[in-house]
Symmetry: C2
Subunit: 336 residues, 2 copies
Amino acid sequence: MATLADVARHAGVSTATASRIINGSSKPVADALRTRVLAAVAELKYVPNAHAQMLARSHRSAVGVIVHDVSDPYFAEITRGLQRVATADGRLVIICNSFREPDRELEYIDLLHAHQVAAIVIAGSGYLDPATAARLDDRLRAFEATGGRIAVIGRHEHTGDAVLPDNEQGGFLAGEHLFTLGHTEIAVIAGPSYLTTTADRLKGLQRAAKKYGIKLPKKRVYHADFTRDGGEDLATRVLAEEPEVTAIAALNDSMAVGALAALRTSADRRVAVIGFDDMPIARDVTPSLTSVRLPLTELGERAMTLALGAAGESPRVEHVEAELVVRESTWPHEAR
Amino acid sequence: MATLADVARHAGVSTATASRIINGSSKPVADALRTRVLAAVAELKYVPNAHAQMLARSHRSAVGVIVHDVSDPYFAEITRGLQRVATADGRLVIICNSFREPDRELEYIDLLHAHQVAAIVIAGSGYLDPATAARLDDRLRAFEATGGRIAVIGRHEHTGDAVLPDNEQGGFLAGEHLFTLGHTEIAVIAGPSYLTTTADRLKGLQRAAKKYGIKLPKKRVYHADFTRDGGEDLATRVLAEEPEVTAIAALNDSMAVGALAALRTSADRRVAVIGFDDMPIARDVTPSLTSVRLPLTELGERAMTLALGAAGESPRVEHVEAELVVRESTWPHEAR
DNA sequence: ACGCTTGAGGTAAGCGCTTTCCTAGACCGT
DNA sequence: ACGGTCTAGGAAAGCGCTTACCTCAAGCGT
């Protein structure tokens, strides 16, 4: 492993000069030396040690991103936005998958902290459990105390810079759509109950139910894990257990796609399905999926912009509206 | 920013002792000191500086991953496998998106090299252009020369540890399927022509054409960028320009899904479509997509396993078979 | 011709940590 | 009681780099 000292020796200069030439310092250097040093770099295939550099110039540049799971299209879209902004700013992005485990999240915060990242962006639902939320907040504060910047996406329990999609309003839109279409017996396919995203979307749904005088009993709310297969299983159960149901509200598109699959295998039931997030697949399934659109890439872009911006005095919070996108998977309730 | 020295001072011990306690060194330490140091760590919210640690113990642990684009489901699946193995081994994974630009790839190799990663895994098609391939190889060799490990997925131009999906054979399977169904006039929706993946899959298709005595002229091969929208555009053009065509072979599933969308809007044409990769969506589109399955997650797992394994003498190359998965989007050719 | 400025390049002090080696008590045997 | 062996803990030497500061020589004005 060639070091700066090797290069300097090879070129017959001091490490100071070599460093200056390699980093394009403003200090003027004779052309002869410059050429010699650059030749030495090429010959020795010298690559500077990033750790030593970071240490010496105690200057933070990389940014960390913690998401539940990048291979989930929801987070993939957000991550795309995050990366676009960060890369445009010339930053290295370190992506960590928490797999929805708070402990792993905690671990990653410390890891990113240890790696001296300039900022951490956390995307994905927060945790309803106050103890868990507090523990996370504590680590986040410790990171902030050392000058790190933090931005969260969709975690209103964190008081700091945040981009908040309006999940409650989105839930309301979904419910309103179904209820104005005349559906009175609906089932909900929800995500894990310990996530705030689930709770918020559900809350909006219930507000709509109240407004339209519809009862939405607890037993009609099924919980899975926000995956396609989870949605399929739940929808299968709904079809078996609830002959009255004429519409299913899935709390994300993956599960809605699963529900559609379940529906396909039971030709005798015609059940409307609405999703949430409006992921790219929504257009391509059949029937195409009615959904509540969240501008995922934009969410990522805005969060990274906050994180990289100068530290403001008051925490900046940006709210992002949800929007109903009607396609073919919902229709008016038909009397039997 | 609390440092080890702060902790040591706070606890009234030397940095050596503090370090030993914090890292659980094997050297025995009095319980009283241990308690004091741990208390100081908690009170000062001390988080060790990873760069200083790396520097001091010049011991590589993180691994780097370079993919074309994580938010592309193809790479998302591979990445999932990569991460599973790496995380199980307690490694930090740094993911870099090259966006199919060789220069960015070059940059990332050096960046990962600079960050002293233990290994680099590169997934995704290689570049047909020999100059580009050579430049990349050169940087890779430099990294290897310093003791770094490298594993590639699907880049047979690199002579080192590799996991190679058999794209040529997959292309053959796709062609054979279409031709045995009686289709003689087919169009191909291919990816960028400078990628080896495109070239290999095409080569297999042509081998099948030859075997079944079908002509597959150049003008029937359309090139896009492996995205869904690219596939839709191309399929639209095919439908407009080629009234003879009864089947389309898309060289990946994203483009196949786009083709399906194009087909949906022109009800008068019944054209069979075959995809490639068998991504999760393939089941959920209508008609469900016939595809050539590549075990993407497994590809990732095997590559990371190679990368983390001990450096072997001879480069280890693992071949992975492609497999035809027949669904609803292909059918026998019907006489008009 | 002298002192001074200027500018090119080198010296060396860290950045925060790990780890080797060393020191100084504690404890043992005789 | 004394030398010898352990052992817990500290001193300090790096890891590879950046950069503030210093040196030395050339160039300038008067």
